[in-house]
Subunit: 301 residues, 2 copies
Amino acid sequence: MNIGFIGLGVMGRPMAEHLIKAGHRVSLASRSGVPSNMGDGDVLRCASAAEASADADVIIIMVPDTPDVEAVIFGPAGVIETAKSGSIVVDMSSISPLASKQFAARLGERGIGCLDAPVSGGEVGAKAASLTIMVGGPADLFEHVRPLLELMGRNINRVGEHGAGQTTKVANQIIVALTIEAVSEALVFASRAGADPARVREALLGGFASSRVLEVHGERMIKRNFTPGFRVELHQKDLNLALENARLLGVSLPATALARSLFSACEAHGGGRDDHSSMVRALELLANHEIGQSMAKDAAE
Amino acid sequence: MNIGFIGLGVMGRPMAEHLIKAGHRVSLASRSGVPSNMGDGDVLRCASAAEASADADVIIIMVPDTPDVEAVIFGPAGVIETAKSGSIVVDMSSISPLASKQFAARLGERGIGCLDAPVSGGEVGAKAASLTIMVGGPADLFEHVRPLLELMGRNINRVGEHGAGQTTKVANQIIVALTIEAVSEALVFASRAGADPARVREALLGGFASSRVLEVHGERMIKRNFTPGFRVELHQKDLNLALENARLLGVSLPATALARSLFSACEAHGGGRDDHSSMVRALELLANHEIGQSMAKDAAE
């Protein structure tokens, strides 16, 4: 299959490499230029999204944000200038669900198919081809590109029509942020009350309070390991998307708004590039108490 | 072992019955009187906590709230009037961690040992002897009563010194409430954005958003099954404990305060006795959109 791949950042590059390795002909384009050492395999180095899309059956986009996707598709030297009728745009960026629906409609007017297919799993998942991929759009298009998605991810679900993939990604980011907040409040409380947060976490795993976040991020909070992982500033971007779309839809997300404020506090203290589990620091700041303090005390006893 | 058991409500009664069945001599007392059909086995029916404690090696208390525990131990005809020096009070009620520490200190002055050992798992867990039991207090006392706890629960952890069991229970209730809020916001958002919340939930299980709450309470929200389970009014009591203790400790719990407000909204609409997963209704009310609506729409398409 002829593939156009646009966006070769920390996520896009390893994803494109999986497609190249599998023997697909891939036309590469990236705003900052195609990396010089991406020449192996059946690769065409292109100067623009338009050039990468000209002969493509499937055009994959992996760029940071909603305006980037709009520019890549509809801007100067964009996908829309050259893409064939019958080709399929697969937008794997994480962007606004409402904008995603609009882009699909505009592409549809030109006979170009579209799927939104955002991912979770981060750089590690991109390299290991183990991404979770949440897909919105017509079922037949999904079946057509599924073999390509399977080269990049493992847990691949079509959730519904256009925008449903992005909506699911937003739901994912809401739940992860708020569960981080849940674990943060519980561990700061427990530590301040004199209990050892590590033993509290142990006792809660296995019960109704158990979650992947309690397991993974809870341990990070206790061990003070805030090396990302997933950065506060990226999660902040996703919560902004959630709240902006919620506003347009008339949905109240009070805890999501609160989580955004706590991430803002992390950023205000220079922690925007730390792991998102560092949300706990904002609560520690308010309580004038760090989880580590009680552990140090316990160790000294 | 001679056991005094005080409090024979929905939780206490099945718990006491496991001890009786195992052949222990149990002296029963309950504010509302000992149920007439609790006569089998080596049972002594007592008129007061003092009477039930007189010959007891271990005195188990299972009553609703902090003032109830205080009354049972220190009030007229209370435990303190008759309990032997060297006996052990095991308070399995869910009460204030700070009060729990004070009660232990006051009992200690009379030579009476104390453990706080609140449970989670509800009526189902009490009947099945599968409760999670979170214990605070001296390790030697814990080892002494562990065989009794094992007759009532399965996941039994000593977390730390006096109060640590109650602190862990509070941490548990914070996490569960806030994870319910996380799943509620995500599913209301997804549904209002036009996605099928059942498929969104499916796609998110297995990723970083996964939790017991997404599994169990998420399904309840989607299926509109709000038969308890665990009642809003009981979880509300636990969040009040959390916030009152947080105030005394100087800890900020903004999302916990928010969850309490949403439970208040459930109560204002007559839902205090519904399952706590019905917190989603408060958000649906704000969004003027019920999760079920989009499902009905999908089914009609």
